[in-house]
Amino acid sequence: MSLALQTYSSVKDANAALQAAGARYIGGGTLVVRAANEGDISVSSLVRVTDPGLSRIAVSGGKVRLGASVTMAAIARHPELAALAPAARAVGGPAIRNMATVGGNLFAPSPYGDFAVALLALDATIVTEEGELPIETFLAGRDTSRAIVTAVEVALPEAESFRFLKVSRVKPKGVSVLSIAALLRRREDGTVTAARIALGCMADRPIRALAAEKALLGCKLTVQEIAPALMTSSEGIAPITDPIASAWYRAEVLPVHLGRLLLV
């Protein structure tokens, strides 16, 4: 069997084609073509959709709807998406950002998928033909999910409340040692009233730092007050080991980098 590309104009038709054995959806190609190039012979057909709606960005009422084929480059340069730009720019080099899509990033195994980490902290909604899912539910079931993601909806955070950090060993751009996204609501005196923290590379996919989120409540962002949150940040993590870093190293440096992000 050789590799074959099937092109559809609608998601519905593509969804049907995807049910065949060996079929994989292709967005920007940065995951699936790479796999085929490396000799993954389980992929025998690639299914793509040319519907221009998948590449649309719609901002209204403090929310954005990102079509699944929207690229990282399109997000990074969009004037109304400044809050998401740092996470989009953290993905790959310029060429990769022109190709890699929002939808693909949701499926990227660690150490990739930095943008999905941001989406997890922002509690995005994942839209498929079969309905809508909170991102957390979607990520948990993504290995068996066969429905094509068509869009991601997310409430745009206020500039001050959202923070993103990707740590790489190669500057300025390299594969993640880890990435962290944090959405923090604070009172005027700086006390944290709500926290949602997502971690990349701390499992095979983005996960939340639930214990740290809880420990931050009622704290001000000072070295002393965030200390308990940092202590608990590694609760429930199972970092990956790859050529970039060992699980041990990732676990060791997580509290350090979380601390830096919170104390910015």
Binding site: L5, G93, P94
Partner: protein
């Protein structure tokens, strides 16, 4: 095996070929069309040696399927020199000793060209960012960064 037609413009010339479905643009350019200036270093989207410009955007030809490029305007380093005269970036790479083994050079020049087309007077940081998807194992990058800055200066002097 199923062959599919692909048709696009390469460095200003019309090209039409039949390729096997699923063929990457890199392989189509190199094996079918005979433009071997994009190089295959990793086929994973990591090294940038296969970088080409498609409709004005930098792309990795190793991860792009040829049949998705119908009607596209594709530019490679092989088409940069005009009438035997080197492009300012090519000149600058020579003058700044920005090549050693040369394998990454065509991809580097493509990445730099996209930068200079949009940002004629880039900062050093702009250059580093623009080249951040391209790996060079020989030079340590500094001469390449200097070459891009040199080409930008040469361009602005020519324009003045």
């Amino acid at each position: 095996m199923a062959k599919v037609p692909v048709q696009f413009t390469l460095n200003g010339s019309e090209k039409a070929e039949f390729v096997e479905s699923g063929t990457t643009l890199l392989n189509a350019l190199r094996d079918k069309i005979g433009d071997t200036s994009p190089k295959g270093g990793c086929h994973q989207g990591t090294c940038g040696a296969c970088s080409v410009i498609i409709d004005g955007e930098l792309r990795l030809s190793c991860l792009t399927l040829a049949e998705t490029c119908g009607g596209a305007d594709i530019r490679t380093t092989a088409g940069l020199a005009e009438g035997g005269v080197l492009h300012p970036l090519q000149r600058a790479f020579l003058d700044a000793f920005a090549t050693q083994c040369g394998f990454c050079t065509p991809g580097m020049i493509m990445a730099a060209k996209v930068l200079l087309d949009r940002t004629p007077n880039p900062s050093r940081e702009d250059v580093v960012e623009a080249l951040s998807g391209n790996i060079c194992r020989c030079t340590g990058y500094e001469p390449i960064i200097q070459a891009v800055l040199l080409a930008a200066r040469a361009n602005s002097q020519n324009a003045a």
